[in-house]
Structure formats: C-alpha cells, structure tokens
Symmetry: C2
C-alpha cells in the first residue's frame, strides 16, 4: 500500500517529506516553540494568541529576553507563559559565550523544537545556530533581499521605495540572508514617516508570523 502511494503521480518528494514531518510533529506531542525577544512583545502577543486560539497547533515552551525590563516579559506573564531573563553578557550586539551557552541550555531544557526571534536585537553566532540547525526563524521588517540590517523601514523610506513589507526567514550565518519562508507587501504612503510606516509593517508582521508558524506546525514548511 505504501509502495503504491509512493509511486502516485504528482506526489513529489517534498510532499512525502511534509507528510512525514507533519506526522513527526503531531504524533505524540505538540510542536514546542521557544521565543526570543528584546522589545515590547507585540509579535509574541500575536503568536501567543494564535497558539491559544488553536490557529497555531503548537505551544510556547519558553520566552527568553536579554533585557530585564522588556515588555515581552510582561506579555509572557500576562499569557501565563514560561519566561526568563538571561543576562546577555558584556557585548552590545551579540551574546557573550557564557550567555550563549545559557540560552542554549534553557531552550534545550524547555524541550523546544523551533525557535522564533521576535525583534531579538542580538546576532546569534555559530554555536547557537549549530545547536538548533535550521530551527531558528526570524522576522525582518523589509522585503528581503532589500534592506537587511538595522531599521529596515527607515532604509526603505530613505531609498524612496513605494512598496516594502516584512519577511520571515530561517536564520543562517549571514545578516538576514537565510531561506525565505514568507513575505507580505506593505505600501509606502506619500506622507509616511518612519514611525507610521513601521507601525503598518508591524501590523503585517502580526498577521504573517502566526500564519507562517501555523504552516510550519502543520508540516507544510519543513525545518530542522
């Protein structure tokens, strides 16, 4: 029976891989998510609500913040999600080695399958990415490959584009260069300021991130 299924016309290897991946995820236990955040936690809130409503067939196993007063910690508290502040160490734009090890240990201990970056303002290095290979997802506020790096909405406005947006992608060693999973376009208006444009991009993010993680949880996008 299985053999005849495998020969079914039109069923690609990607189809079967998705099926197996989906079975792995749904068989036994729910997909467990780790969320890393530095900011006010609006994407975390959107993800937590989508998990609670069942839109995403997954649960958030741990929220980690590198800032003790990050709004994301309040969001996690409010939603009853496990959460921790772990000090990032002595650098400004990355975790130091000790901190990185502490982040990896906490996420492993929480048994997370997939790590979602939601405005996490530190570059993750080789050790972290090797620990969770092809299991780290980021959201970036532009239509990559345009405007990688910081304050992408300002870069877009300064460049004079009329359409920008947001991108969900796997994290690799480059800056915002990993495989793209989903994108959504946002129009730039003639009277946009950096903050009005960023606000509309964030609205798009709050829809795109949950719908994309839901597709991952259904096995429609493979990872790991």
């Amino acid at each position: 029976m299985m053999a005849s299924c495998l020969n079914e016309p039109g069923k690609t290897w990607a189809f079967w891989r998705r099926l197996v991946s989906s079975a792995e995820v749904t068989d036994g236990k729910k997909l467990r998510l780790g969320v890393l955040a530095s900011g006010k936690g609006s994407n975390l809130r959107a993800l937590a609500e989508a998990c609670a409503s069942g839109e995403i067939a997954a649960e958030i196993g741990l929220v980690l913040c590198d800032l003790e007063d990050a709004g994301a910690l309040d969001v996690a508290r409010g939603a009853g999600l496990p959460h921790r502040f772990i000090a990032p160490g002595r650098f400004r734009t990355k975790l130091d080695d000790e901190a990185e090890s502490a982040y990896i240990a906490a996420l492993r201990e929480a048994g997370v399958d997939l790590i979602l970056l939601t405005g996490f303002m530190r570059i993750l290095k080789g050790e972290f990415l090797r620990a969770f290979e092809n299991r780290v997802v980021n959201i970036h506020p532009s239509l990559l490959p345009s405007f990688p790096g910081l304050e992408a909405w300002k870069q877009a406005l300064d460049h004079g584009v009329k359409v920008t947006g947001c991108t969900i992608h796997f994290v690799d060693q480059g800056i915002d260069t990993g495989r793209i999973l989903a994108q959504r376009a946002v129009e730039v208006l003639d009277d946009d300021t950096a903050s009005s444009l960023y606000a509309r991009i964030q609205e798009a993010e709050h829809a795109l991130y949950p719908s994309t993680v839901a597709r991952i949880a259904r096995g429609e996008i493979s990872f790991g």
Copy 2:
C-alpha cells in the same frame, strides 16, 4: 490673493510645485511621449490605449525600435502612431555613438517631453541621458533595489522570494538605480515557473505604467 494662498496651512512647497508643473504641462499643448521598445510591445499597447481613452492626458509622439521585426512596431502601426526602426549599430547591449545621436535627433524632432522605455534592451549612455535629463523613465520587472539587471523575475524565483513586482523609475547612469516613481507587488506562487511569474508581473506592469504616466501628465510627479 496668491500671497495668502501661499501661506495657507497644510500646503507644502511640493503642492505648489505640482500646481505650477501641472500648469506648464497642460497650458498650451499636451504632454508628448517618446516610447523606446525592443519587444512585443505589450506595455506600448497599454500606454497607447490609456492615451486614446484619456486616462493619460498625453499623446505618443514617436515609437522607436532597435529591432526591425519588433512586435512593438506592429502595435504602433495598428494604433496609428508615428514609428521608426533605427539601427542600433555594432554593439549588442548599447547603441553605438552614431545610433545614439540618431535616436536623440529623432526624439527631438518629434518634440517629445518625456521618454518611456518599455523593455528597451540597450543601456542608454551619458549623451542620451544628458540630452533628456530626468526625462527618461523605465519599467523594471522587480521591486527595486532587489534584482536589478537582466531577467529579474528569474533572479527573484532563484532567490526564493515570496513577493516580487515591478518598479517604474527615472533612468540615471546606474543599472536600475534611478529615483523610484511607483511600484506594485506581485505574489510568487509555490508552483510558479519563470514564465508564469513573468506573465503576472507583466499584467501588473500594464496597469502600473499607464497609471503612473497619467500622474506625471497631471503634474503629480515632477520631471525634467
């Protein structure tokens, strides 16, 4: 009266410049367009129809092609537009000096105010751009600054983006780097091939090019 108008709150310099620019264009004679094409002429057809229907308050004064059998020449004939083939000379990707001079002379003789490139497959050099400074407009099949250069839809597909589109921009000395006037997003579908994606981008082009030239003709976008 004029002085009090100039002080009216909310009226920016851009507003007054548009008003003056619009008056310059509409006072006396219609905006005259020169169209350069190498291909089948589908953007030319869309522009010609929009001029005929009055959507664009302008007239096409001359269509120039660098290929004797370009479909664009048939489109021009069918629409009763002045048209000429001018041999591009001995290079493959640009006009030679003699040809460039012939193109400039023909466009000047036709009295065109604005030059529209519609899939014109040759780079225009300094002499041409100085002759028509800030008066040369191009349409490019991607959301610039992503994927400048040739076969942008293939570049987009190979990169794995989920959103691409088309861009209308002024032509400067760089490759697809001039000021952006308008953009439209086009979704990349999971089962897209290069040709299915390009077909949808071209549909978007056929709407965006006329609507943008209409805005130029109304003085909403300044040029020259």
